[in-house]
């Protein structure tokens, strides 16, 4: 769940009133947000780096608010305020408009080389915007939040924002050999080739996480203006030339990626959030994107979609009895402008470009329920009549557990994942003989394989409890994972037996081989019995 950090006083000013922490927490809860933490820059720095470093840092109160992972429209102060104000019916949801420029439309030409590395690009212009320090910071922060979430750490989509006045269109989005790309990247004073940059950024704590996205590609994506100025080398870095500042008035925004749908959503979110600060509020200047096949389209999409939902469906799914008019009102409070039409039971719901999360009627139902208030819904028990059954394996397990404990054995609960050594070397077996299931991405050796026997877990439990009085008598009934039948652990010669039940082998018992005991760092004799209980179901 993404966390958005906003200045409390700035938030309250925008909301037009103040709240106590408890009141604001309550409002968040009702709306599906969570006021996670109340802190300040100073507190954060002092927590992470110590009091010394925190000296002089800001004492301004920050609210850290957890936002649902699918609500990209709430990832910045502007969106949060808009959502809450509409929810509280203090304002109406704005209508976002794409407008054609007075002069020539900006163009972004996509070449076919991009198909191999990062095929999609969309773009838009925010005209005559007015930043302040706080607005500018929020604009940068929103891009970062989008990068971390919907953009999947820039793998699916990467955003570049540029000072349009420093550039001259049309723009070209292409892909070139890294050695053929040379530019002065953001906040550097010198030009570097793409190869050099990839090397430099290996030690950059922020950027090093994105290098793998293009590192092994033969061509790197790059955007130029008509003078050959590099705007950006997505998804790594922008050029320094077109860098935006708090004084920038006209912004060219490009989103490139491997997922066209998400690139369009990301662009819509940025422009809907920040067109608030444009001279013509909530208008966005269109940009034409020319695809490699010669066709073109204008962006941002800013599409409004109409959905028809029956009022009784909402009532039936939520468990309430509201009039269609009331339901329409509830939905409108969720930025879903709605009205009753047709036979009086139909509600026409307008899905704004900010609500890409609404993909089905069930999403509309949820918003109606949130606006109604989850805690106002009457709780009732379903009349579903059923006869309960236990899963036979678990039923037998429960019976066995109790009798094993009654026989004086103590129940252990060990991990299903372990090292190869635990199930092979330590038991004197070759790993291939165990038929174990192997994990491809273990973070440590403790998670290399799924256990093929319960024995190592029990022996490790004993090894960790050597200070306990003897004898230690342990048992565990749990799952093991084997691809096929596998070899068991070795026993002391002449001190082991195979166990048969119902004419089939179900396991082995015996005194463990001293080599096994030693490898588990134990010194006392140890005997074990391991059987498969499935034949008894």
């Amino acid at each position: 769940m993404p966390t958005v950090s906003v200045k409390r006083d700035l938030l309250f000013r925008a909301l037009g009133r103040t709240y106590t922490d408890e009141e604001f927490d309550e409002l968040c809860f009702e709306f599906g947000l969570e006021l996670d933490e109340i802190t300040s820059e100073k507190e954060i720095i002092s927590k992470e780096q110590g009091n010394l470093k925190a000296e002089g840092a800001s004492n301004v109160v920050l609210y850290k608010i957890d936002v649902p992972a699918n609500r990209y429209d709430l990832l910045c102060l502007e969106g949060l305020v808009r959502g809450l104000q509409v929810f509280k019916e203090r304002i109406k949801a704005p209508v976002y408009k794409r407008v054609m420029p007075n002069a020539e439309i900006q163009k972004l030409i996509v070449t076919e080389e991009t198909a191999k590395v990062r095929p999609f690009a969309v773009a838009a212009v925010l005209r005559n915007i007015k930043f302040t320090k706080d607005r500018y910071d929020s604009f940068i922060e929103l891009q970062e939040k989008l990068h971390q979430n919907i953009c999947r750490k820039r793998a699916l989509v990467a955003i570049g924002t540029h000072d349009l006045d420093s550039l001259s269109g049309p723009f070209t989005y292409t892909a070139k050999r890294p050695s053929d790309i040379k530019f002065k990247p953001l906040n550097k004073t010198k030009e570097y080739t793409a190869c050099e940059l990839m090397n430099i950024y290996k030690s950059d704590n922020h950027l090093k996480h994105y290098l793998h996205i293009i590192e092994n590609k033969s061509l790197y994506p790059v955007i130029y203006d008509s003078n050959g100025v590099v705007l950006s080398m997505p998804p790594i870095i922008n050029g320094n030339h077109s860098k935006i500042t708090v004084n920038t008035r006209n912004i060219f925004i490009e989103c490139t990626g491997t997922d066209f749908t998400k690139a369009k959503i990301v662009l819509d979110i940025i422009v809907t959030m920040f067109s608030e600060y444009c001279e013509n509020q909530f208008t966005v200047e269109a940009t034409e994107v020319v695809f490699p096949n010669g066709k073109s389209n204008t962006f941002p999409d800013l599409a409004y979609r109409k959905e028809m939902v029956r009022a009784d469906l909402i009532n039936k799914k939520v468990g309430i009895r509201e009039t269609p008019e009331n339901l329409a009102k509830l939905l409108t409070r969720m930025c879903l402008k709605s009205e009753v039409i047709g036979d009086g039971n139909q509600i026409e719901v307008e899905i704004p470009p900010t609500r890409a999360d609404i993909i089905h009627a069930c999403d509309i139902v949820e918003d109606a329920a949130i606006a109604y208030g989850y805690n106002n819904i009457q709780m009732i028990l379903p009349k579903t009549y059923t006869i309960a059954n236990q899963f036979p394996l678990n039923k037998l397990t429960e019976l066995l557990r109790h009798d094993l404990a009654a026989a004086g054995f103590t129940e252990a609960l060990t991990f299903a994942l372990c090292s190869k050594e635990d199930i092979a070397d330590k038991l004197g077996l070759d790993i291939s003989a165990t038929n174990a299931v192997h994990i491809s991405n273990p973070k440590t050796a403790e998670f290399q394989v799924a256990r093929t026997t319960l024995l190592p877990g029990l022996l490790k439990t004993i090894a960790a409890n050597r200070k306990m009085p003897l004898p230690l008598k342990l048992f565990e009934i749990s799952d093991i994972v084997i691809k096929d039948s596998s070899k068991g652990p070795p026993f002391f010669p002449g001190r082991c037996a195979e166990i048969f039940a119902r004419h089939q082998s179900i396991g082995k018992l015996g005194v463990l081989h001293p080599d096994v005991i030693t490898k588990f760092e134990l010194t006392m004799p140890c005997s074990s019995l391991e059987i498969n209980i499935e034949p008894f179901l």
Binding site: K317, H360, D363, V365, I387, A388, F409, A412, G457
Partner: protein
Amino acid sequence: MADGPVAEQLLRRLEVADGGLDSAELATQLGVEHQAVVGAVKSLQALGEVIEAELRSTKRWELTAEGEEIAQEGSHEARVFRSIAPEGLAQSALMQLPSGKVGFSKAMSNKWIRVDKSAADGPRVFRVVEKVEDEVQRRLQLVQKGQAEKLSEKERSELRKRKLLTEVTLKTYWVSKGSAFSTSVSKQETELSPEMISSGSWRNQPFKPYNFSARGVLPDSGHLHPLLKVRSQFRQIFLEMGFTEMPTDNFIESSFWNFDALFQPQQHPARDQHDTFFLRDPAEALQLPTDYVHRVKRTHAQGGYGSQGYKYSWRLDEARKNVLRTHTTAASARALYRLAQKKPFTPVKYFSIDRVFRNETLDATHLAEFHQIEGVVADHGLTLGHLMGVLREFFSKLGITQLRFKPTYNPYTEPSMEVFSYHQGLKKWVEVGNSGLFRPEMLLPMGLPENVSVIAWGLSLERPTMIKYGINNIRELVGHKVNLQMVYDSPLCRLDTEPRPQKTQAAA
């Protein structure tokens, strides 16, 4: 009958004693160890007012082991003197004697003997006097007879310096008659015996009072693991509510059942290497239900069933990737799919409690393996109100009655809600579970009828267990490193009755 012969003797003598008697003296008179008399005093004291005993400490002189030997054999110097024949003894031979060294110097300073250094074969020792009085022996013998007071202070301190005598403090009892004195006290029985029951003698028998502050002896026994005790209780609750247990006996699951079937898109962060354990061997699931896979693919990529879909290119090889299941909802998806294949549709209530795996960073509240509890109800026309009703009943069986619901986002439920309960100890609302109605994009491709809703909720098994048993670090609860004493000591699990411990940590 008195409690043992010593106690009996004590009572008899006390009956005729003038005022009382001393336990040490009695021991001497009876010729028994003092400790035996002390035991008798204590057992008589336990009877009540039979005797009164006052603890006294007296000092007494006793012989050391060496002192005892000298009292018996004579002092070293006397023994040296006796070993010298009239014709003398070579000094070297004398020194070989057991008492030689000490005895020689003492006898010299007593002027009992002399040394002739000019003798032909080395120094020779001769008697100087005819006869000696062994004062040391005589004095020690006096002490032995209990007449140490006949020695002067100086004599005693000299013997003490020679480590022949030692002063000991003796704790004795001055015993006198109690208010209920009788020579015929009966012995208190400690245990009820089969003989007493059959003869009926227990009716007239006094019994020794129990010491209820003794620690007692723990019986040898086995123990069940606390987490699994809690698991048993949750199973019980579901069974009481009429829920049928789903099969969950497969840790390995294909990405298809773990994610795709739940309408979780293939680019979802949960499907990242950082969150999920993928398998190297066997890397891919070969058998997936073809028609169903096709419907799932279409719903993801293009939408359908009233959905816009996610509009991306869905890949079968991604769905085939085997994982260690990240949630038990994978098992619920299989169960619902099986249900959808049965016509006509019959309503069900399902539950499961089993292990799931996350490739997460480990800390005090997160392990790579944990247990999930999941409840599912599928029926016609179920509502959010029904879900809340079931949750209220479920949580009230856990002793949780104050509930509140918060809107949230889950990839495969809509509407979704988090369940919060008011925590008395923390004085705040804490999340206790997650819930929702499964999305139509998950249910309809399975083949479930359109008007069937499926409500579901889930929680972890570890967290309520940690709260219940007051454990703050999950590593102290699960895995081979746990202290077995914790397992031995864990009390019964009664989820609905016991007050929850005050000091608990809100686990994430």
